[in-house]
Point group: C2
Chain length 439, copies 2
């Protein structure tokens, strides 16, 4: 009976492919090829999970012990943050930039790496959602750990506030100044230092853009253990400093699981070399974990050593409907058990989220009959054998349907369909950031 | 040609099964059933990797800032440690136990949890290899975090040295006193607090024995993300405090990847509640990582929250020979790529290690013709589909053989054969600990 219902339901499946390409395939039908791609994932998850660079709860300075800004100078600069109940004001203990400071930085870094141009500063002073705006007068672009160290040492001695910045793609304003802090952008430190093709261990400078590292690894047959919507701009140092999660967390774990070593510069300029590449190093205190998620408040990450998984060729995406929340939970349990080693994503949406996405977001369509389902689940598998992975997913889906856990579903037939399905999930964060969709 | 050689070689395979059961099967032959078991793994790896409880670089006390023992009292108690170039002596600043202390602890814990019996103390004062021996006069068995807190608070106020102890299965003497420290054994804190069958998150007290947790999870369809030779005695708190690696690290990562939260008691009795169960928590400083691998020197871990993977039913073990080290490296690379998601162990031995194991260890046999091979590799796969996993392993092995990466090999046919193969690897650590095999 259930099987019949399922098949009837499958026949009603909306055609994803108004764009060229095969129709989406019911996993009960057993035909066609699974989608495959190494770049299906394209979204950050939420404000806290999406990467930005170092946070500015407190500008880096020798006064790290001070946890609150004292009453200060300019009311124009004071702003209210969502997580802070009261307005904050600039601490007058911090110095302001003068011409001697500029001269020092020009001597240290060269003229091209000391930015005072207003247009360039405007971009660096503002986050990409335009929610937060600082008023820094100086943007520095160091090219080496030694230069970062010298900058921080000098700022520390002069009591100049500092905000570290990477791709400036964050959603919580962590990478822009609160007031007039010196912005230290790591973008010029963008070299891959080494890659071991046997162990898959990549060592790079902190300013490497995530997508550049992905492209570098793709040629070697590996992938980054994290993927984010802003991969084209965000930097690995910022990912690590914010402990960015991303869409591969279910499969590969958090950065605490994959980062093997770090180099970081403390506020006084001291360089902490924790750049190990030993996977099973369990000797002594593992200080690097303190820097992961501390958002620059303990120091600036300058180099990263990270374990990268091998690239697997077979990717399948299914989009399913469940009648109740309990079924979604049971489906997750079954997916972990039956798909186990190939399960790479399990994403959940309720009816309201889907309605909002369909109403507000361009190019998003529900591959299942609308208004019939309360809950939706996106499942992705990634494995090394196309045929066996496909059969495994199909067997799981038939089993789940027979058990009443899912009421309808489609399996993407190619990368376009897979991308289209992912877009439903992806766009939630993107649109949320534009302020028109509050889920 | 290579294929012929391979098959000829396979015919020479020594019969693992002097014990009842089918003969080991060449993976080129395509017959028989793969071994399957959830408990094939049975070894710690090395001194630093095998679990013991909290280290005693310094007894816990209010004087944590003192990093060296001052000149002290009894030469009988002074010992030389491998990692310390000079003899250490008891710091006279630490107090010694008196009758008031005993009375306090009896009032706090009850008579049965305050151990002064010489025989019981002898076991607690010595590590299981009998390499290190302390002279504590007092063993305490708290049953709650509150009791641990009260003990440490009191010891701190009295300046009594403390050594935390779990299963006392370590290989580096970290769980026994250096001198006459109070031993705080967590064995009585052995309750499972909660288990979420949807997320697989287990919360337990620190004194739970690893194997007990494995058995508990086995009934629920999950496994612990780590496995160690001493699982029958070691405790999860000690595993976490020493950041024990174990045989599942390749698949599931280190404890930094899987521990979601901790509760720990500091030397002054303060309780740090970091017992979160949120997998994607990237808010604020992640202090729990500091306690992982710090071996008790920062505090006593009292509760652990850990992510457990679902149990997968299909396990296959192959034991292979390689002619040179480069082939072993290439084989690892290929295994990560071709076996990808099912690869659960890749263990390496050279000829000398094998010869020593065969010479000194009871019940260990080489399943391949002896003295012909320079290097050996043990590969294990764990997946959810027996047939497809087996085919995947066989295809990989034939591919590796045709590519000249391996020169001979067997695939275990059942759990006995798999255990026998694992014994080669397992026994290295065991015998090393007995001092008769120095690899």
């Amino acid at each position: 009976m259930k099987m019949d219902r399922w098949r009837a339901s499958v026949r009603r499946i909306l055609n994803l492919a108004s764009r060229p390409g095969p129709a989406p395939r019911s996993f009960a039908a057993g035909r066609g090829n699974p989608a495959r791609s190494g770049s299906l994932h394209c979204s950050g998850r939420s404000c806290r999970e999406t990467q930005f660079y170092f946070g500015h709860r407190q500008p880096l300075s020798m006064h790290l012990r001070e946890t609150e800004f004292a009453l200060g100078v300019s009311l124009i600069q004071s702003r209210c943050f969502g997580s802070v109940a009261t307005r904050i004001q600039r601490n007058p203990k911090f110095a302001t930039i003068n011409s001697d400071d500029i001269r020092y930085f020009r001597d240290l870094l060269g003229d091209k790496s000391v930015i005072q141009d207003e247009d360039a500063l405007l971009a660096a002073n503002m986050d990409w959602m335009r929610k937060y705006k600082g008023s820094s007068k100086l943007l520095l672009l160091p090219r080496s750990t030694e230069e970062v160290s010298q900058i921080l040492k000098y700022c520390n001695s002069r009591c100049l506030g500092v905000v570290p910045q990477g791709g400036n793609t964050g959603l919580v304003g962590g990478s822009v100044p609160v007031f007039d802090e010196v912005i230290v952008n790591l973008g010029a430190m963008n070299k891959v230092i080494s890659f071991d093709e046997v162990s898959g261990i990549l060592v790079s400078e902190a300013g490497c853009i995530l997508e550049s590292l992905m492209n570098f690894l793709d040629n070697k047959g590996f992938i980054m253990p994290l993927d984010l919507g802003s991969k084209g701009s965000c930097q690995i140092g910022g990912n690590v400093s914010t402990n960015a999660g991303g869409l591969r967390l279910l499969r590969y774990g958090s950065l605490h699981a994959n980062v093997l070593g770090l180099e970081a510069v403390l506020a006084n300029g001291d360089v902490l070399d924790m750049l190990g590449t030993l996977r099973k190093d369990n000797t002594g205190y593992d200080l690097k974990h303190l820097f992961m998620g501390s958002e620059g408040s303990l120091g600036i990450v300058t180099k990263v050593s990270i374990l990268t998984p091998p690239k697997l060729s077979s990717v399948n995406v299914a989009f399913l409907a469940c009648t109740d929340y309990l079924s979604c939970q049971k489906l997750l349990l079954e997916a972990r058990r039956k798909l186990g080693e190939v399960l790479s994503a399990f994403e959940f949406l309720d009816e309201q989220a889907m309605d909002l996405a369909l109403k507000h977001l361009e190019g998003v369509r529900n591959p299942l009959p609308p208004a019939l389902h309360k809950f939706y689940v996106l499942i992705e598998t990634t494995g090394s054998d196309e045929q066996s992975d496909k059969e495994k997913l199909e067997a799981f889906l038939v089993h789940a349907m027979e058990g009443g856990l899912i009421s309808d579903g489609v399996v993407a037939q190619d990368i376009q369909q897979a991308s289209s399905v992912w877009k439903i999930r992806y766009s939630r964060s993107i649109d949320e950031s534009r302020g028109c969709l509050q889920i």
